[in-house]
Assembly symmetry: C2
C-alpha cells in the first residue's frame, strides 16, 4: 500500500546520508582533522559492512526458503561476463586482504585492533557479496519492498564508500611517490610534507616490506571491484518493484571467430602499453633528463594510440550511418546506467584535459616536452566523445537477431504461401540453432544461392529446414546482396569493438598503476599552484580510471551483441 | 534519420565540455593561477552569451515564420508562476547589471573593457532569455533536432556557468567578510589574506561605494535567476523529439481561499527570520560576546522553525497514508527533474550538517553555544528528509480533479440508468464550471443533501444540471461522508503546503544574504582546519541555498495542485 515512489526516496535518502557521513569521515581523516583517527574511519566501515553482511544473509536465506515461488528476472542485468569480471577482481581483493592481515600481524604491536579486524571483515564481505551477486543480480524484487530497498541501497553505498576509501589510500600513496620524486629532482620551492601514516614500530616478520609494497599493485583491482559491485547493486535497486515486459531475450555469447584483426591490433597495443608503463615508472623521477624522455615517450605513444582509437570510432559511426536500424527505446535500468556512467565518468578526464590545455595556453615557459601535452589532451577529449557516441548507439540499437528472425519469417511466409504451417517449424529452428556452429552457410536450393551468417549466435539454419518450400527468385537475390553487405559491415564493427575493448583495457593500466603525467610534467602545477592542481587531479582521476574499465566492459558487450 | 539518442549524447557531451572548460577557467582565476586574468574569464562568458543570443534570435524568428504550424506543447513545463518568479529575479538582475555598469564607469581608468562589456551583454542576454522562456518554455521541438539540441544545451550550460560565476563572486565576498570579522575578533593564528580584486585607482563618481556595496545584496537573486533559467531550459532540452500523450490537463490556479492559517504562521516565520538575520548581521563579528549571542539566537530560532516544519511534514505524510490515491507514473521530464534536484541539492546541506555533527563529536573544547549546533544540524537533515518525501509524493499523486470527474460520471451513470444521454450533459457541466464561484454547494434534491467542493476549480455543478435524474440514497450518502472527510484533509494539506512554502522562502534568506554560522561558530574550522572547511562550505553552500528556493517553488505547485 505504501507508494513505490516514496519507498524509493525513503531508501535513497538514507543511502545518501550514510554515504555523506562516511565521506566526511574520510575527508576529516585525509586533512588530519583534530580528534579523528584511522580507527574511527575503519570502525565506521566495519559497521556498515557487517550490516550489509547480515542483510545479505537474511535475503539469501529468505529467497532459499521461498525458492518455489517463480521470481521474475531482468535478463539485461548481471551479464555472465560481468560476473566473471567481478569474481576475478574479488579474488585479487582477497589476496589484498590477506596482505593486509599479514601486515597487521607484523606491526601488531603498534597498530590498533581495527586494522586487523577490517581486512577480516572485508574478506568475509567480499566472499558473501560475490556469491550474492552471482545468485541474485538479476532478481526483480517484488515483496517486502521497503526493507529490501533499504538493504540494497545500503549495499550500494557501502561499496561506494569502500571504493572511496580505496581511492583515497591509493591517491595518498601516489602523492607521496610524486613528492619523493620532486625531492629527488630538487624542487625545493614546494613545501613537501610526506603523508605516510607509517607505523611507529618495527616489523616482527620478514615479509612486511613485501606486503606493504605489494598492496599498491593490488589496490587498482580492489577499487574496480567495489565500483562494479556498486553498479550491479544499483541496477538491482532500480529493478525493485518493476514490471518487466516479457520479450524475447537472446543469450549473448562471446565468439572469438571473425575478430582476429581487431584482437591482434588490440593485443599489440596492450603489450606495448605495458612496456611503456614499465619504462615510464623506472625512468621517471630518476633525473631531469630521464624524466623528460619518459614523458615524451609516454605522450607520443598515447597520441598514436588515441589517434587510432578515434579513427576506429569514426569508421564505426559512419557504418552505423550507412546501415539504418531502429533504436530500442524500451525501459532498461542497466543500459541507462551504462550510458550515464560513460558520460559522467568521462567528465572526470575531460576536466583534467581542459586543465592541461589551459595550463599550456597560460604558461610562461614551455619546455619542449610540454607541447606534446596539447595534442594528447585534445585527443583524450575527442576520443572519449566519439567512443561514447559509438557505445551508446551500439547498446541502443535493436539486436540484429530479432530483425533477422522477422525477416526470415517474412521471406518464408511469402514463398511458402501458408502462414499457419510455419509457426512450429520456426520454433524448431530457433531451438535447434544453439547447437549449430558459426560462419557462413551457402545453401543451394531451387537454383538460388542463399547465404546467411549466424548473427549473435542464433537463427542460422532456417533455410535448411525450409528447403522444401519454393522461394521466389527476386526475394532470395535481394537477400543475397543485402546479407553480404550486412555481413561485411558487421565484421568490421566486431573488429572495431574488439580493438577498442583491448585499447581501453590498455589505457586503464597507466593511471591505475601510477603513471601520472599530470603530476610529472609539472606544467599544471606551476600554473594552477601545487595544492589546487593536486586537489583537481585527486578528485577527477578516480572517475577517469573507472571510465576506462567501464567502457571496456561496455565494448565487450557491444562486441558480443553486434 | 539521425537517431535521437545520438543527437542527445552529441549535444550533452558538447555542453559538458563547454561547462568544464568554463569551470576550469573560473577555478584558475579563483586560485590566482599564473597568466589568467579576470578579463579572460569574462571574455569566455561574453562569447558564450553572444552565441546563445544569436541562437535564440534564430529560434524565435524561425518559430515566428512557422507559427501557422501547430506545435505541440508540454503542459507540465514552464508553469506560469515559475515564469513570474523568473521575471522578478530577472528584473533584479537587470538592476545588478546597471550597478555593474555604473561601477565600471566610476573605475573606467583602471578596469579592462571587458568589465564594461560584460554587464551590457548580460543585460541583453537576460532580456532576450526571459522573452524566450515566456514564449517557448513549453515547446516540444520536433524539427531540426540536432541543431536545436545544441542551442538549447548551450543555453543550459551558459546559464549554469553564469550561476557558478555568481556563486564564486558571492563566496569570495563572504569569505572576505568572514576574514575581516576574524581580524576584528583577534584570531591571529589563521593566516589571513584578503582576496579583494579591488581596482587600483580612485573612483571618478560619488556612487561607487553604493554600487559596490549594493551589488552584494542583489547577487542572491541573480544566482537564483540563472539556476532557474537553467532548469527550465533543461526541461526544454529533455522534451526535444518527445511524443506526448494528449491527456486532459487542468489549468492549475493559485487560490488564497482556505489557507489562511498556514499563511499567517508562515508570514510570522518570514518576518521573524528577517528580524533575526538583521540582528545577526549587525551583531556578528563585533565582539566575542556579541558574536556568541548572535549565534545562540540564530540556532535557537532555527531549531524552533525546523521543529515546526518537521511536525508539519509528518502530519502531511500521515494524511497521505490515510488517504489512498493512485500515483501518476507517466513520463514527465519537468517532474523528474524536480524530484532529482530536491534530493541532489539537499545533499549539499546534508554534507555540511554531517560536517558539523562530526566536528561537535570530535572537538576537544565545547563552548556552550556550540552545543546548539548539534540539534540544529540533526534537524536540518531530518527536515529535508521529510520535506522531500512530502513534496515528491505530492507531485506524483494523481490530481484530485481527474478522479472527481470520473467519480461523478460513475455516480450519475448509475443513477440515471442511461449512459448514452450523459456524454453531452457532462461536457456541458465541464465547460460551465469555470464561471462558477468557489466553496461548498449543498444541494437538496430528491430528499437528499448532496455536498461537493470545487476541487482545483472545476466540476462543481454537475448535480445542478443533473438534478432531474433520480439518485439512489446509498450513493449520495457515501458521497456526502467521503467528500467531507476529503475536504478536511485537503484543507489541512493546503495549509501545510502554504506554511512550508513560506518557511522555505524564509530559510533561503539567511544563507543567501550572508548568515554563515558554519563559518562563525568556529568549531568546524578548528576541527577540520581553516582551508579544508572553507572548501567544503563553498562547494556545498550554493546547493544548500538553491535547495530552499527550489523546494519553495515545488511547494507552491503542491499548494496549487492539492
Amino acid at each position: 500500500s505504501y507508494p513505490q515512489k516514496n519507498a524509493e526516496i525513503l531508501s535513497s535518502q538514507y543511502g545518501i546520508n550514510l554515504f555523506l557521513a562516511g565521506l566526511l569521515l574520510m575527508f576529516a581523516w585525509a586533512v588530519h582533522a583534530v580528534g579523528i583517527r584511522k580507527q574511527d574511519l575503519l570502525s565506521y566501515l566495519i559497521t556498515i559492512m557487517l550490516i550489509q553482511l547480515l542483510w545479505m544473509l537474511w535475503y539469501i536465506s529468505r529467497s532459499y526458503s521461498q525458492r518455489r515461488l517463480i521470481q521474475e528476472k531482468d535478463t539485461h542485468a548481471g551479464a555472465r561476463w560481468l560476473k566473471c569480471g567481478i569474481t576475478l577482481f574479488a579474488v585479487i581483493t582477497l589476496i589484498l586482504d590477506s596482505f593486509k592481515i599479514g601486515y597487521f600481524i607484523g606491526f601488531s604491536n603498534c597498530l590498533s585492533a581495527t586494522e586487523g579486524i577490517f581486512p577480516v571483515t572485508h574478506a568475509m564481505h567480499t566472499l558473501l557479496q560475490v556469491y550474492f551477486l552471482w545468485c541474485h543480480a538479476k532478481d526483480i524484487i517484488q515483496s517486502f519492498k521497503t526493507l529490501e530497498r533499504f538493504g540494497v541501497i545500503h549495499s550500494v553505498f557501502t561499496n561506494l564508500l569502500l571504493w572511496t576509501n580505496g581511492v583515497l589510500t591509493e591517491s595518498k600513496h601516489q602523492l607521496n611517490e610524486h613528492k619523493e620524486r620532486l625531492i629527488t629532482l630538487g624542487f625545493g620551492n614546494i613545501t613537501i610534507v610526506l603523508d605516510d601514516h607509517a607505523p611507529q614500530c618495527n616489523c616482527t616478520t620478514t615479509l612486511c616490506s613485501i606486503f606493504s609494497q605489494g598492496m599498491y599493485y593490488l589496490y587498482p583491482f580492489n577499487i574496480e571491484y567495489h565500483i562494479l559491485a556498486s553498479t550491479m547493486l544499483y541496477v538491482l535497486w532500480k529493478n525493485i518493484g518493476r514490471k518487466v515486459e516479457h520479450h524475447h531475450q537472446h543469450k549473448i555469447l562471446f565468439k572469438f571467430h571473425g575478430i582476429t584483426v581487431g584482437t591482434i591490433f588490440g593485443l599489440i597495443v596492450l603489450i606495448s602499453t605495458i612496456a611503456v608503463v614499465v619504462v615510464y615508472l623506472i625512468q621517471i623521477g630518476r633525473s631531469k633528463i630521464k624524466s623528460e624522455l619518459a614523458l615524451t615517450m609516454f605522450y607520443l605513444y598515447a597520441i598514436s594510440v588515441l589517434t587510432l582509437m578515434c579513427a576506429a570510432g569514426i569508421v564505426a559511426l559512419l557504418i552505423y550511418r550507412l546501415e539504418e536500424r531502429s533504436m530500442d527505446n524500451s525501459k532498461n535500468p542497466a543500459r541507462k546506467l551504462d550510458g550515464d556512467l560513460l558520460v559522467g565518468t568521462a567528465s572526470g578526464s575531460w576536466l583534467l584535459s581542459w586543465g592541461s590545455i589551459l595550463a599550456i595556453i597560460c604558461a610562461q615557459a614551455h619546455p619542449k616536452y610540454t607541447w606534446y601535452n596539447l595534442p594528447y589532451s585534445i585527443l583524450v577529449i575527442i576520443e572519449k566523445y566519439i567512443q561514447n557516441l559509438f557505445i551508446i548507439e551500439s547498446i541502443h540499437r535493436e539486436q540484429e537477431t530479432v530483425n533477422d528472425d522477422i525477416k526470415t519469417l517474412r521471406i518464408v511466409t511469402v514463398s511458402s504461401g501458408s502462414t499457419l504451417s510455419l509457426t512450429p517449424s520456426h520454433k524448431e529452428i530457433y531451438n535447434g540453432a544453439a547447437d549449430m556452429d558459426n560462419g557462413k552457410f551457402p545453401y543451394m536450393f531451387n537454383g538460388n544461392i542463399y547465404m546467411r551468417e549466424r548473427s549473435g549466435g542464433d537463427s542460422s539454419d532456417e533455410v535448411k529446414s525450409q528447403a522444401s518450400s519454393p522461394v521466389s527468385h527476386s526475394t532470395s537475390d535481394f537477400s543475397l546482396y543485402s546479407q553480404n553487405s550486412v555481413n561485411n559491415k558487421r565484421r568490421i564493427l566486431k573488429n572495431i569493438a574488439a580493438f577498442l575493448f583491448l585499447c581501453n583495457l590498455s589505457l586503464w593500466i597507466p593511471p591505475a598503476f601510477g603513471c601520472r603525467p599530470e603530476y610529472d610534467n609539472g606544467l599544471e602545477e606551476i600554473v594552477f599552484g601545487f595544492e589546487p592542481w593536486i586537489i583537481v587531479v585527486n578528485l577527477a582521476m578516480p572517475f577517469s580510471i573507472f571510465y576506462r574499465m567501464h567502457s571496456a566492459a561496455s565494448l565487450f558487450e557491444v562486441n558480443c551483441k553486434t
